[in-house]
């Protein structure tokens, strides 16, 4: 059985409206974030992945199983959808228990899994309350519990951090990390880019139905050649470093930090810069505290590739 999720030239149209177009992906285990503005195709991609909709063209394989076989696929996949809707007149416990019965588990097993999942998301105490009486954060958590109750290998989470308070958000991220580390596929869409940055093993950037970039964020950033790389150097004599840098044609900008202890520069050739920095250190005894990329994150890559819309969220 393949351990990848594969999209092979997949397109999906809603009548004449484009959902996604010519998407080819091979997603390895770990946490993969789908990033893109509203209408970019994130939810379409997720719905295709779990068989809720079908591709207009192309094929999809989830760990070797196609979405044409929901009886097999749904045992592997757990989906926490964006819809804030639940069956009427049902408690948190009944919500999980009822759908676990539809997986064919015995009642005792359903009970055990229901309690375990509610405990994971911290809702065991509220299990007997109607879902309609839950807060938005609790509803988000009970959806998450329902998505993981059958121990899926592929966990798909559409905006899972919406409505969660900072503590619950941190706990949710820790859970995603755990699942990712265990070899599960965790596919997350989120607008909260700094959190995406913290949790993702790889990102898929979508815009207007197309995959703009995919892979580890550092690799994606290095592929964006037209945007000079920003590097922050904390050192004792930034002015000296700046004077040496201005002689280089690949450096397009250098700013000395207000505290006089750092230099922020933009270069078209990071490798040449690092060589030069080594020379300056050897020649003048410059004391360097740290050197770090300043725009090697999802937020910056998003801005460069898709635009400023939503990047600062």
């Amino acid at each position: 059985m393949s351990d990848h999720i594969v999209f092979d030239d997949v397109s999906r149209f809603y009548g004449e409206v484009l959902g996604i177009n010519n998407v080819s992906l091979s997603i390895p285990p770990g946490i993969t974030s789908l990033v893109g503005p509203n209408g970019s195709g994130k939810t379409t991609l997720m719905n295709l992945l779990c068989g809720l909709i079908r591709p207009t063209q192309g094929s999809i394989s989830v760990l070797g199983i196609t979405p044409d076989h929901p009886e097999k696929l749904c045992r592997l996949v757990g989906y926490c959808a964006q819809f804030d809707a639940f069956p009427k007149a049902i408690t948190g416990y009944q919500f999980l228990y009822s759908f676990l019965l539809m997986f064919g588990f015995a009642p005792a097993e359903c009970d055990r899994r229901t309690r375990e999942s509610l405990s994971v998301v911290g809702l065991l105490d509220a299990a007997a309350r109607p879902v309609a009486a839950y807060s938005k954060g609790m509803r988000q958590r009970v959806k998450l519990a329902q998505a993981i109750a059958h121990d899926p290998k592929v966990i798909i989470l559409d905006e899972p951090l919406n409505g969660l308070d900072p503590l619950a958000r941190a706990e949710a991220i820790a859970l995603f990390r755990q699942w990712g580390d265990k070899g599960c596929h965790v596919i997350v869409s989120s607008h909260i880019l700094h959190e995406v940055d913290r949790i993702s093993d790889q990102v898929i950037l979508l815009s207007q139905g197309y995959v703009v970039a995919e892979g580890q964020i550092h690799s994606v950033r290095s592929e964006v050649k037209e945007q000079p790389m920003q590097i922050l150097v904390r050192c004792d004599r930034p002015a000296l470093l700046a004077s040496r840098l201005f002689a280089q044609d690949h450096v397009v900008e250098a700013k000395i930090a207000t505290d006089g202890k750092g230099l922020l520069l933009r270069t078209r050739d990071a490798d040449s810069f690092y060589l030069l920095l080594n020379r300056v250190i050897l020649d003048s005894g410059l004391e360097v505290e740290s050197v770090a990329p300043a725009d090697d994150d999802v937020n910056s890559v998003y801005q460069y590739l898709i635009g400023a819309e939503g990047a600062a969220q």
Binding site: Y14, N47, C50, G51, L52, I53, R54, P70, E71, K72, L73, C74, R75, L76, V77, G78, Y79, A81, F83, A85, F86, P87, K88, A89, I90, Q94, S98, F99, L100, L101, M102, F103, G104, F105, A106, E116, S119, V120, V121, G122, R141, Q146, I148, H150, D151, P152, K153, A168, E171, A172, A174, L175, Q178, W179, K182, C184
Partner: protein
């Protein structure tokens, strides 16, 4: 959230699932949502309305009866046959089944909850079966009970004579016939309305078309009469209702369908509709109109 409690690795895929357990899970959830729901109050009203009338009849006639009954058991039996034919079959059960069955899928789409079902490893065919059976249980319990209680109360004012009619006369056979026809009506109309809920965004339109067709049935040529649910149900009713003038001259008589054709025929027709609905559900996509 407790990260520690999630430390167990994902379990192996559950293999020994039972289809019956899965269908039972669907039925359990549907019955929980549907029975005694506030959304379905009007269905209870439709079902229990005639019972109120027969109870009232019992009370009023009991008072009048002290001064001598003004009608016979046979007349009450024909009145009940009229209520059954013109209210239960043509309105109460018809619209009740519309409310129950067309919402089995349509309401899930409107409330954006259908994806929960589609994300379980349950064959869509079994999902249709589970939802249909849950609707059927509800419809048969509601309308079967209503028909039985209405029948038992309509002659209550006759006292021991009515008990004698029930136990030693044709009463129990008639009651069994009415309950059987009620159950078959729920089976037939249930299949029609489950399908309309899957295919139409507004099931009221096909319901109106079917309703007009079913009510035109007495006036249709004998061949067209047979393309309806009511024709077969009418053949099974234990007491024939005389059509009053001037309508009797417009009614076209057709050979009644024998029991052994009407029952299997209706069941077969319902099965075909259900199989078509199941095949359609197999390719249904989640589209909540966003």
């Amino acid at each position: 959230m407790s990260a520690a409690s999630a430390a167990a690795p994902p379990a192996a895929v559950h293999k020994d699932s039972s289809v019956l357990r899965q269908i039972g899970g669907v039925m359990r959830l549907e019955l929980k949502k549907t029975f005694l729901s506030r959304r379905g109050w009007w269905i209870y009203f439709l079902a229990l309305g005639p019972l109120g009338i027969t109870l009232l009849h019992w009370l009023v006639e009991s008072r009048i009866g002290r001064n001598g009954n003004r009608h016979s058991i046979g007349e009450d039996s024909i009145i009940f046959a009229g209520i059954f034919m013109f209210y239960y079959l043509r309105a109460g059960i018809f619209f009740g089944c519309m409310g129950i069955f067309s919402n089995l899928f349509r309401a899930e789409m409107l409330e954006k909850t259908l994806h929960y079902y589609f994300l379980t490893p349950l064959r869509r065919e079994w999902l249709v079966a589970g939802k249909y059976l849950a609707g059927l249980v509800m419809a048969v319990v509601l309308f079967g009970a209503s028909v039985a209680l209405s029948f038992l109360t309509i002659g209550g004012h006759f006292g021991p004579n009515w008990t004698d009619y029930l136990l030693h006369g044709p009463g129990l056979t008639q009651l069994g016939g009415y309950v059987l026809v009620t159950a078959l009506a729920c089976v037939g109309y249930g299949a029609v309305f489950l399908m309309s809920g899957l295919f139409f965004k507004n099931p009221m339109i096909p319901a109106a078309v079917v309703w007009v067709w079913e009510n035109l049935n007495p006036f249709l040529p004998s061949l067209l009469k047979k393309i309806s649910v009511i024709f077969y149900l009418k053949s099974l009713c234990p007491v024939e209702v005389p059509i009053p003038p001037p309508f009797n001259v417009m009614v076209v008589d057709a050979e009644p369908t024998p029991f052994w054709v009407a029952v299997p025929g209706l069941l077969a027709l319902s099965l075909i509709l259900l199989m078509y609905s199941a095949a359609s559900a197999r390719t249904t996509e989640i589209s909540y109109g966003e």
